[in-house]
């Protein structure tokens, strides 16, 4: 678990706020509810339809899964209520130091190809938008492409084409091709958000699940400067 260094006046937006901001830019964000009790978690799971994922919402925990703050593939509302309790119990070793705003219950996205779209604001270069293949590709091969906005849809498509793993998006070995236009639109929207919100320092949409038609943002981190 890491938090922004003291004195650096930045904070991670709570995930519901981050998802809300993205939705304002017409980006496809996963359907979700914020639950404050096990009962609310079960109700959210019923409303969204299972399977769902539960994630702790706390500005101090950007890497939720590292501390057991995430439960994937929750199959029933009853399991959702139980998972709610389990997550909070796991975090109790340091409860006094944590602000827990609730548990986010989100629909599980349909399977597809994991993609990352991000933005960093560099003191010299200004905002830079990144795309890459998610999962091990970004970790291991650093297979990513950068652009400095403004970013046209054509340029965003070209970025995706630059990735070594680009064939995984265009239909490799019988896999269906993924919706490159939808991914390019995400990258362009991220560039727009960076231009319109100078206080936003970093955006990490990781992963975005790319489908044959459309894509779905299932996890979003946004770092803001106060």
């Amino acid at each position: 678990m890491t938090t922004p260094p003291a004195g650096d006046r930045t904070r991670w937006l709570p995930e519901p706020e981050a998802l809300h901001l993205l939705a304002d830019y017409n980006l496809p964000v996963i359907a979700h509810r914020l639950a404050a009790t096990p009962e609310e978690a079960a109700q959210a799971a019923r409303n969204l339809g299972c399977p769902v994922v539960l994630k702790v919402v706390s500005p101090e925990i950007p890497h939720k899964s590292d501390v057991g703050g995430v439960r994937l593939n929750v199959a029933t509302p009853e399991e959702a209520a139980a998972a709610f309790t389990t997550i909070l119990d796991r975090l109790t070793p340091h409860p006094s130091r944590l602000t827990i705003q609730g548990i986010l219950v989100a629909k599980m996205a349909a399977p597809g190809t994991e993609v990352i779209v991000g933005m960093v604001r560099d003191p010299q270069f200004g905002p830079a938008v990144m795309v890459g293949l998610g999962g091990i590709f970004v970790e291991l091969y650093k297979d990513v492409a950068f652009r400095l906005p403004p970013l046209s849809p054509g340029e965003a498509r070209a970025m995706l084409g630059e990735l070594k793993a680009a064939p995984l998006l265009t239909g490799y070995r019988g896999q269906p091709p993924r919706d490159l236009d939808a991914l390019a639109a995400c990258a362009c929207a991220v560039a727009r958000i960076a231009a319109e919100h100078p206080g936003i320092q970093e955006i990490d949409l990781n992963p975005i699940i790319a489908h044959e038609q459309g894509c779905m943002i299932v996890d979003a981190k946004i770092l803001v400067h106060e």
């Binding site: 950007p62 830079a128 770092l223």
Partner: protein, 458 residues
Amino acid sequence: MLHRAGVVLAADHPLRIMSHPLDSIFCPRSVAVIGASNAPEKYGYIILKNLLEAGFAGSVYPVNPKATEILGRPCTRSIADLPPGVDLAVIIIPARAVPQAVADCGQRGIKAAIIISGGFAESGEAGAALQREVVEAARRSGVRVVGPNCQGVNNPHHGLCASWPLLTEQGEIAVISQSGTVGAALMDWASQERLGCSAFVSLGNRCDVDETDLIDYLAQDANTRAIAAYLEGVKDLARFREVVSRCGKPIVILKSGRTVEGRRAAESHTRSLAGRDELYTALFRQLRIHRVDSLEDLYDAAKALAYLPKPGGRRILTITSSGGSGILATDWAEWSGLQVAALPGPVAETLRGLLPTHCIVANPLDLTGDGTAALYRKVVEATAPHFDYQVIIFGDPILQAADVVTPGAPQLVIFLGGAEVERQERARMHQKKVPVFPTPERGVRALARLFAFNGVAA
């Protein structure tokens, strides 16, 4: 074509239509050497000598209060005593005296100064303070400054070698370098093989004139067809983006420091992957700047982009006298995304009638060890209409090889294994403005640069 004529008009010549703020640096009427010296090991001597020997048409004035004559030229005691008409001063005096010298230059109406002296920002806080004084003096008096701590400026088309070593070969590649040595090495290679350069500028500490100013100048310089730069970083990114995006000439940059920066531990993947180098890569790609990773690539790419015509397509034919070189060229062509296309049947038929039976009529087309200029010419003529580019490899001491190639034609020339004949023929081809590459690998990789950015490079 004007740029081929090599005519350079002085900055204030009535026929000179365009004027640029940096004209005084590249095309001064007269030059003063502040700190000229009689000691042959000192730059105050070396630069004065180079200025005198490079064929500069204007006057060169040594300035030194303690000498009466240097290299046969009468010495002027002070900047204030200089006659009118001096546009450029080359300053080679101790750092602490430089701010005053710059102010004096402004006072005397000198428009630009090249500060060779070190002891400024590169040497610590006291030096940085002196450099700020230089900038102040320059701003107040309207003097443009190259350096300090630099290796000077060379414009062979104006006979101006305010630098070292003495290089005078005129060409079409401009060299900008944040390292004097790296830039001088590049210019030396170009001079050695009689290809030449259009300009050389050592940036030094960039207290005033930076790479963006120079690209802005070179974009309108009639002698420059490609710009090669060695940079450790871009000084003013916003202006760089603006100026480069309207520069109609190809730019190649060797940007060092790719690996030295440690990656920050960061919370987001994007942050951890966004090193400065990745951002430079993005910037250069967006601006259609060719990024290279070695000094040889910098030279080869600039050579190709300055002199080779734009290809109509990717289909190449290799014509060689060396089987091994032909295979190497083919491997590199495949790796570089070029198409090694088959010879059309009727063309092969014609060639079999024209060539000795032991020649291998295929792609690569191998004339074997007794290939002559006459055989090359037959093949080049018969096949030219059927391919986008011909890769012509002279793999032996082939006499009159230079007569085979045509300036401006889509031909990539590689010469190796020809010893003295190779050196002679290469110089002849370079004087015809046909670039010659030393190995199949370097030639083909340079050719492939012409296809970067979907072939729409500036």
